[in-house]
């Protein structure tokens, strides 16, 4: 999910100089379900894979504040507004936990922020879709955060200690995101015919992008094997996607909504089988040609530039306080 962009930049192969003895010790530690901590020796490819994955995850949280943030001033009630503010604040917090985890691998925060602002960094494809109605906010909580949980729960057992610990914290908070989304969806589904249409319309637009959040099919995912061996990843893209579909279809049925897939059916084992996903759309969004890629980055840059005076004032204030303390 947060490794979508890894497709374009495979990690460097472990250099031959890397001591095979240390490598064996490293793998033995992982096989024994011991965690790897920041100062431990680790293969360069492990470090680089994690820096990319954790930073893409962090960027996704930060960019993820934008599509929902637009609705804070337009939420339909004071309670929904308070909930949305809390959720968006959580997303910012998740970004901060994850940036901190990435920094333990030896990359500076400023470098990570620059990667995002320059447009070089990848983030989850899902945040490049628009949120034209209030039902989109509900659908994001239910489907996007639901898919995120499916992906993030196994990451709590990731072999890299700081990432795993950050994910434990994130997962505790994420459940609120999904439940408030489903609750908002339920309100619409039980509302007027116009509200029901709005809910159905949002499901129609978010269903396929949510399934694509899990990344390309296993047959096309080149990094799964190594990440599984290193216990960065514990389930494949298709396994997690299937689990999400199996959980979500009955939830849609309860809402009285129709999953926009004419080929959707339950197989003899009880699993829901979907029709084929349009990977050309996924690849286009990932390459920067989604409906909102340019808008998201432009908005992030504006926010960063608009916050410059706050950062400068904070430094000036800290300097003044330090000078007073000396005097």
């Amino acid at each position: 999910m947060y490794t979508q962009g890894l497709l374009e930049a495979p990690p460097k192969a472990a250099s031959a100089v890397e001591d095979s003895e240390r490598m064996a010790h490293f793998q033995a530690r992982i096989d024994a379900e011991e965690k790897i901590e920041p100062k431990d020796w680790m293969p360069e490819a492990y470090r680089q894979t994690l820096i990319r994955q954790i930073s893409q995850h962090a960027h996704s949280e930060i960019v993820g504040m934008l599509p929902e943030g637009h609705w804070i001033s337009r939420a339909p009630s004071l309670l929904r507004k308070s909930i949305l503010i809390a959720k968006v604040q959580d997303e910012g917090g998740h970004g901060a936990y994850l940036y901190s985890a990435a920094e333990t691998l030896g990359i500076a925060r400023s470098e990570l922020i620059e990667q995002l602002l320059s447009g070089r960094a990848k983030y989850s494809s899902i945040f490049n879709y628009p949120t034209p109605t209030w039902a989109d906010v509900a659908a994001i909580g239910w489907l996007v955060d639901g898919a995120a949980i499916m992906n993030q729960v196994p990451l709590c057992r990731c072999s890299y200690g700081p990432y795993a610990r950050a994910m434990v914290r994130v997962c505790k908070e994420e459940s609120f995101h999904q439940r408030q989304g489903y609750h908002a969806m339920l309100s619409l589904a039980r509302g007027t015919p116009a509200q029901q249409r709005m809910a159905q319309d949002a499901l129609n637009r978010w269903w396929w992008p949510a399934l694509m959040m899990f990344g390309p099919p296993d047959t096309a995912s080149q990094h799964t094997a190594l990440s599984v061996r290193w216990k960065i990843k514990r389930f494949t893209n298709d396994e997690l996607r299937q689990k999400f579909v199996d959980f979500t279809v009955p939830q849609a049925q309860f809402l009285g909504l129709t999953v926009p897939d004419a080929q959707l059916h339950q197989d003899e084992d009880g699993h829901y089988q979907t029709g084929p996903l349009d990977w050309s759309e996924f690849n286009a969004v990932l390459k920067g040609n989604g409906p909102c890629n340019a808008e998201r980055i432009a908005e992030r840059r504006e926010a960063h530039a608009a916050g410059a005076w706050v950062r400068e004032a904070a430094i000036a204030h800290a300097a003044k306080r330090a000078a007073r303390a000396v005097a």
Partner: protein
């Protein structure tokens, strides 16, 4: 532990926006006491311009759901840590002193309250 890359303040132009990317603020480690009577526990880290800001950010970042009644922040650079590569030798002296554990002593069952 966390190498910080010193950066000069440089003007970058992204799209139509020019901005400065300041050097990172100091990194602080955050410790939270969940309730009175418990130890402060390490929960993560954050950047701040000074200690007062670090405390406020720590509240916003790590106690949004009443996770704590007290916070400590410590500059990461001020933490002195043992070296993981020396851990085996460093902690070795305790390894063969099993007599330090109460279970080492075999006491007859008839002796109570011991």
């Amino acid at each position: 532990m966390r190498p910080s890359v010193p950066r000069v303040q440089s003007l970058k132009v992204y799209g139509a926006i020019a901005m400065t990317l300041p050097q990172d603020w100091a990194l602080y480690e955050v410790f939270v006491r969940a309730k009175r009577g418990l130890d402060h526990k390490h929960v993560g880290s954050l950047h701040a311009a000074d200690a007062a800001m670090a405390i406020e950010h720590a509240r916003d970042l790590y106690t949004r759901r009443q996770e704590g009644v007290s916070l400590w922040v410590v500059k990461s650079a001020d933490i002195v840590a043992s070296a993981p590569e020396d851990a085996a030798a460093f902690f070795d002296p305790a390894e063969d002193k099993i007599y330090r554990h109460p279970t080492f002593y075999d006491i007859p069952k008839d002796v109570e309250t011991l």
